[in-house]
């Protein structure tokens, strides 16, 4: 669709969203309970932009991404409801073969475990060239050349030789690069990256994040980066979405959200983190208690049992979404409306 050789567009209001998710709901039926894994989530991502999605495990980050690609198995999931707009179409209502043609082509996803997308029994060459031959009709020779070039680009030394190896012959960090090469070969409009560096050491994480940023800048890819690490978000994301118990509790431009977090959960997460840039405090302001069981959510605000500010109203009513500024919103009675 879009011309990938032009400069990535600015992330201001004028830039148009490449992918827009509206009111997404994905529920699971387990042991007679309905698990509301994703419950009314809306966000969008623009060309060349990185949207950070943060939250603790079980908050629905992966299910939200998988739902966008229609990769959630149903059953146990109900068919997701809401709308996922991409290239003028609603992905939730697309016939299966059309969404298949988009997956791994215009919309790519990478995972924490590279073996989720790599086949252990096939040489890397076969897996990379197949993408190009199937989606783009490249000749085998051209596809191989392009695949080698992409492996070089993601920093795999001796790519011409290593392309003929199997995934298990690569180290964890190198396998992650192979997966990224595969995801980016077709120059997707959108890359959904689900904890792509969580299993890696920090120095390798720095290499991989830099690589994604470089490729993104040259290809104009819109990136949705899922992570539990607010440090990673601070360094990579233009905008941030904070999830708790299947919902977005706060979202905003990265600078604003870190400078002026409004939701007590966002503040709690920030205070929980030991950090190397400030003197050690001795005591961390940990968030009390545990994340809720999504099959048995508390009444009112799902965060209220752990919230230091919880009032009776929080126990009874769901909090409204308060506009803090033009792009900054928080779902909390205590958030300060402004903007």
């Amino acid at each position: 669709m879009s011309d990938t050789t032009t400069e990535p567009s600015p992330t201001g209001d004028a830039a148009e969203a490449v992918l827009t998710i509206r009111d997404l709901r994905t529920f699971f039926q387990t042991d007679g309970h309905v698990v509301k894994a994703v419950d009314g989530v809306s966000f969008s991502v623009r060309r060349g932009e990185t949207l950070g999605v943060v939250g603790e495990s079980g908050s629905g980050k992966s299910v939200a991404c998988l739902s966008a690609l229609r990769l959630v198995p149903s059953p146990p999931a109900f068919h997701p409801s809401g709308e996922i707009r991409f290239q003028g179409r609603d992905l939730l209502r697309l016939p299966e073969q059309e969404i298949e043609a988009l997956r791994g082509n215009r919309l790519a996803m990478i995972f924490q475990d590279p073996m989720t997308s790599l086949n252990p029994y096939l040489r890397v060459a076969r897996q990379l060239t197949e993408v190009l031959e199937v989606h783009r009709g490249a000749t085998p020779a051209a596809a191989r050349q392009e695949a080698i070039a992409m492996l070089e680009r993601v920093g795999i030394p001796d790519a011409g030789r290593r392309i003929d190896q199997y995934p298990h012959q690569f180290s964890g960090g190198m396998r992650q690069r192979v997966m990224i090469a595969m995801a980016l070969l077709c120059q997707p409009e959108v890359l959904l990256a689900d904890e792509p560096t969580t299993a890696l050491d920090v120095t390798v994480q720095a290499q991989i994040l830099e690589l994604i940023a470089e490729l993104q800048a040259s290809l104009g890819t819109a990136v949705v980066l899922v992570t539990h690490d607010l440090g990673v978000v601070a360094g990579t994301a233009d905008r941030v979405v904070v999830m708790y118990a299947g919902r977005i509790v706060e979202e905003g431009p990265t600078g604003e959200l870190f400078a002026d977090p409004q939701h007590p959960y966002t503040r709690g997460l920030l205070a929980s983190m030991p950090r190397i840039d400030t003197p050690p405090t001795g005591h961390l302001e940990a968030i009390a208690g545990l994340p809720p069981d999504l099959g048995h959510l508390p009444t009112g605000c799902a965060f209220h049992p752990r919230c230091p500010l919880a009032s009776d109203r929080c126990r009874r009513e769901e909090p409204p979404v308060v506009a803090v500024s033009a792009e900054h919103r928080a779902a909390c009675f205590e958030a300060e409306a402004g903007g």
């Binding site: 603790e56 495990s57 030394p157 180290s171 960090g173 190198m174 050491d201 920090v202 120095t203 390798v204 994480q205 720095a206 290499q207 830099e210 539990h228 690490d229 607010l230 440090g231 990673v232 978000v233 601070a234 360094g235 990265t254 600078g255 870190f258 400078a259 709690g268 997460l269 920030l270 205070a271 929980s272 983190m273 030991p274 950090r275 190397i276 840039d277 003197p279 050690p280 405090t281 001795g282 005591h283 961390l284 302001e285 940990a286 968030i287 009390a288 545990l290 994340p291």
Partner: protein
């Protein structure tokens, strides 16, 4: 942060030239038969004073866990000495047939040295209740009988912030954070002097990590514990440790006061490691100078000649590929193994 003023407290643990080598059988036919040697720990020196917490950081595979296990004699060191409270415990092994086992002194010493593991679930028997898990060490050492034992278990649960009413529950009925509390309670059951905590928070969510870090900090104060805190997360290690030792490929490359090593790292590897730790502040992240290392950690089966870090070092000189740098003191309490630091 320690109970005793640091300068005055005497060493509880002294480790000299510790080495652990694993024998790897080479697969393949008759001609290629033989074995390789993996140098997991390759000449580690450490001193831990009473009441002090030493942080051990480094990337996966650099030998942190193996060091922790060899210090506690959970595996027999291949070389070097481990002196605990003045006694050479690395010698307290006897041959039994083809295997080495602990002698009576080392078995008795278990009471004083305990380990906390990363994955509390894997280290807790799923068929035992919390009570059984916490009673086992007491019974093994013939400590306290019947009613006293139950009281002691309830006391331990309260100490680690668990509701003593859950005494009859099984590990799977708890969350990851609660299970880690059980693992900590078990390690504390016998009133140890030294705890080796091996990645105790790595498997937990951010908000739960903070709870467990706070718990460990409190227990250390209240019980006067000496601790080796192993983790790959430098921010967490800095938070809880008095001193930090940085490992690379089986060796300690730098060691200093926890604040100093983060504020003024001297070894190029420590500098790269610190620059790679993300900071939850977009303003700083936008301006930070990051040293992104090229290449990968070499194999401990074929470690490079000279400095173990030379293959990735941005400052490498000729001598670095030839001579192994020794860990030497460059300022009081600050030791670095690098030819280029003076």
């Amino acid at each position: 942060m320690s109970t005793l003023p640091r300068a005055e407290s005497s060493p509880l643990l002294e480790v000299r030239d510790l080495a652990v080598r694993f024998r790897l059988e080479r697969p393949g036919g008759l001609l290629r038969r033989g074995h390789d040697e993996l140098r997991a720990v390759d000449g580690v020196n450490l001193v831990v004073r009473r009441g002090e917490t030493l942080g051990l950081v480094g990337e996966s595979g650099c030998g942190k866990s193996t060091t922790g296990r060899a210090v506690l004699q959970l595996l027999k060191p291949s070389a070097g000495t481990v002196v605990f409270d003045g006694q050479p415990i690395h010698d307290w092994w006897v041959r039994k047939g083809r295997r080495w086992v602990w002698d009576a002194r080392l078995r008795e010493l278990r009471r004083r040295m305990q380990m906390i593991f990363q994955d509390p679930f894997a280290s807790l028997n799923p068929r035992m209740t919390v009570e059984a898990i916490l009673t086992e060490p007491l019974r093994n050492f013939g400590l306290t009988g019947g009613g006293d034992r139950r009281r002691r278990v309830q006391e331990l649960m309260a100490t680690v912030g668990m509701d003593p009413r859950f005494i009859r529950r099984y590990p799977h009925e708890f969350s990851g954070g609660q299970r880690q509390r059980i693992g900590i309670a078990r390690a504390l059951a016998l009133g140890p002097d030294l705890i080796v905590a091996d990645e105790p928070i790595s498997a937990l969510d951010v908000s739960i990590q903070a709870q467990i870090l706070n718990l460990l900090a409190r227990l250390r104060e209240e019980l006067g514990l000496t601790m080796i805190f192993i983790a790959h997360d430098l921010a967490a290690v800095r938070h809880i440790s008095d001193r930090i030792a940085v490992m690379y490929l089986g060796r300690i490359v730098e060691e200093a006061d926890a604040r100093e090593i983060v504020a003024a790292p001297r070894h190029p590897y420590t500098q790269a490691l610190i620059s790679a730790v993300p900071v939850p502040d977009p303003v700083q992240e936008a301006t930070r100078q990051r040293t992104v290392l090229s290449g990968e950690v070499p194999s401990p089966v074929n470690p490079p000649s000279g400095c173990p870090f030379h293959s990735r070092c941005p400052l490498r000189e000729d001598r670095c590929t030839r001579d192994v740098p020794v860990l030497r003191e460059i300022a009081p309490g600050h030791r670095v193994a690098c030819h280029l630091v003076d």
